[in-house]
Point group: none
Chain length 210, copies 4
DNA sequence: TATGAATGAGATTTCATTCAT
DNA sequence: AATGAATGAAATCTCATTCAT
């Protein structure tokens, strides 16, 4: 007569051994994921110890390894979440062909991107750090930028202009948008959301359709 | 009282204890600094062990700590070199006021920047990694970008235009130039030097003087 | 939120991070402290390696640093124990004013001191070694002797006598008692406990009340 | 035609390889010995690095090992000097048999001992530290105390008295004299030379001939 | 004779991961 | 499901001694 104190199973959340998690387990796992983003933000990816994460989550080492096979595994799962969000965003990018066409849509889209960075900036920062360290995050062939650039290149038709390589220009603009958002997130650029978006819009438009 | 059997002193190269180095010592120290840049480039800042550096320099642990008090100390000295070079570059930035004024000078300057990144890209990458890790490199109040942006803001007068915040625009363009060079260096953007510079010129000009 | 699976907490025993220890942890920590006294006795303070201690305690490096932040920290805690015991002993020193007054009490006290040295001689030896090395044990303003002399000076009224400085005489006698016990402990003087105490009594009495 | 810049040989001072030293070599060797005593006094035996010694002597590592086969070798030679002086002193100890017999001679002798400690206290301290560390100084079967006690036991006839073991009493008094001088040397006892000697005389006499 | 750069064995310390409870 | 004590491989750093000049 086993007692089932742990409650009913919860879909979509697995333990390391593949077991489906009870409500309590799923909550613990989610807590570890959530606080780890904050800890990474505060201390950086490499300076973060498993100890820091479990302390912040009021959990324990043993529990940590119940849900994640390694520190890298947890990080991978964090990145997977963000990667998915980035992909969704890319999928909504409007087709931009000419000067005024799609202008409003682009502006909205830049706003969505800013929102994403506001929510996920720290994870993206940690992700970038991992790339710079030369660490392959288990499942992600792409880096944070690559996810954006890849999709965008297909949507934006930069007009041929003397001296302007469309591929490079696209990349340059994406990098700019990405990094400015990133720096805005980390507080290194003091600017309101609207100023940010307006200025980026101006530059992108000028560059594309000068 | 000591005779100078070990060869003449070399200016500007010190051991950890402040002793001025002989030619041989200065050469060893320089070799450690040089190869460490390569090793950092190959393995990333955090994954690089003192072991890796001394092996690459065909030296030993003991020797390493003769010239650098820690791995971080060596990195600081590496960054100091690059930081100085960046500052020199910023000091040569032409004043840019109008459409065609200074156009040629700006182009030359972008070329110099590209050259700097070609030589020092890996160190800058490691520097960026250190910043992302939240590690303060001992002596550098600024980050890699800050060094550039700080000086540039004073030289470039972005014209007021509706919707374009001059400070943000400057930062955005610098970030773009910096990161595109960085990605070009690390081989993630396939582009010739001239295409790179041309495209950046186009964007910068369009943005500034649309 | 955490359940208490690891056993009940034990008062007065802390890990390096301030966590209160479970019974098992407290036992491990105590074992490390206990065996370290033996190892210090056998090899001397400076020749003792953390390796030696954890091997003797059948533990591991990792565990050691769970309870002590460094070898010096462990030694400090060892000294703290003994320092406390010495202080307790000093507090029980009878007031000695005249020839026969307090004679029995003094004898008992000398016996207690001998007992202390029998138990703690090795730690006191290591402590002395640390003092000679010029190392300040973190928390102890006093040296081993100072702990004794300080308290004793207040209890013993050495009569003024021509040529006999009371302060120096007290110190001299304490040093004698302390060191003779110390040498007896380390086996460099072959003498029974009673012979030791009798002889010390004779000398102290003769000196004080000749 | 070899130049003989080093000057004529000096008797009694050898290099490690047995070569007889020139005047210059002998001077260097003596300088190293002299300053090492000061350095040991300042930093303690174990905290003293070869680096500290050669820096204080304005010499070099290479030179050090020209004259001493190891750090321990230098220390041994230092101790040998002091050991010889102690032995000389013991040899002059007057025979003490009764109350007034030899009183003046004993007083003089205590003064000589005080002088010895004034000069050699730091070396004796380092020697004691070595003993506590369990290190055998190469050539010295005895410790600093043993050198004194051994000779003294033969010269002093402590009268049999109930409760006073002659051997223990001798040792106790020697320890006392030795340690009080030692503490006076290291500045832990503030007392003039004469007060020191007077007080020790009083105690020794009272104890021996009460 | 003197120098000081170079060495490497060995010490301390960290921390991701495992395991007994 | 949760705990936290225990582990040990791997990293950093020290310093007595050797060696080329």
């Amino acid at each position: 007569m086993p007692t089932d104190a742990a409650g009913p199973a919860v879909a979509g959340a697995e333990a390391v051994d593949g077991r489906v998690l009870s409500r309590r387990g799923a909550r613990t796992r989610a807590r570890l994921l959530d606080v780890s983003a904050d800890v990474f933000a505060a201390k950086g990816l490499h300076s973060t110890r498993v100890d820091d994460i479990v302390a912040a989550a009021a959990s324990s080492h043993g529990t940590f390894y119940l849900y994640f096979s390694s520190k890298e595994d947890l990080f991978d799962q964090l990145v997977t979440q963000v990667s998915t969000e980035i992909q969704s965003l890319v999928d909504t990018l409007p087709t931009i062909t000419g000067a005024t066409r799609g202008r409003a849509a682009l502006r909205t889209w830049l706003g969505d991107l800013a929102d994403l960075y506001e929510r996920r900036g720290p994870v993206i920062a940690a992700w970038t750090e991992a790339e710079l360290s030369g660490e392959r995050t288990g499942r992600h062939g792409d880096d944070a930028l690559g996810s954006l650039v890849g999709g965008i290149l297909e949507q934006v038709r930069v007009p041929k202009r003397s001296g302007l390589d469309p591929a490079v220009a696209s990349l340059a603009l994406v990098i700019m948008v990405e990094r400015v958002n990133y720096y805005a997130t980390t507080g290194r650029v003091k600017v309101t959301r609207d100023e940010l978006i307006d200025t980026l819009m101006e530059i992108v438009e000028a560059a594309l359709f000068a």
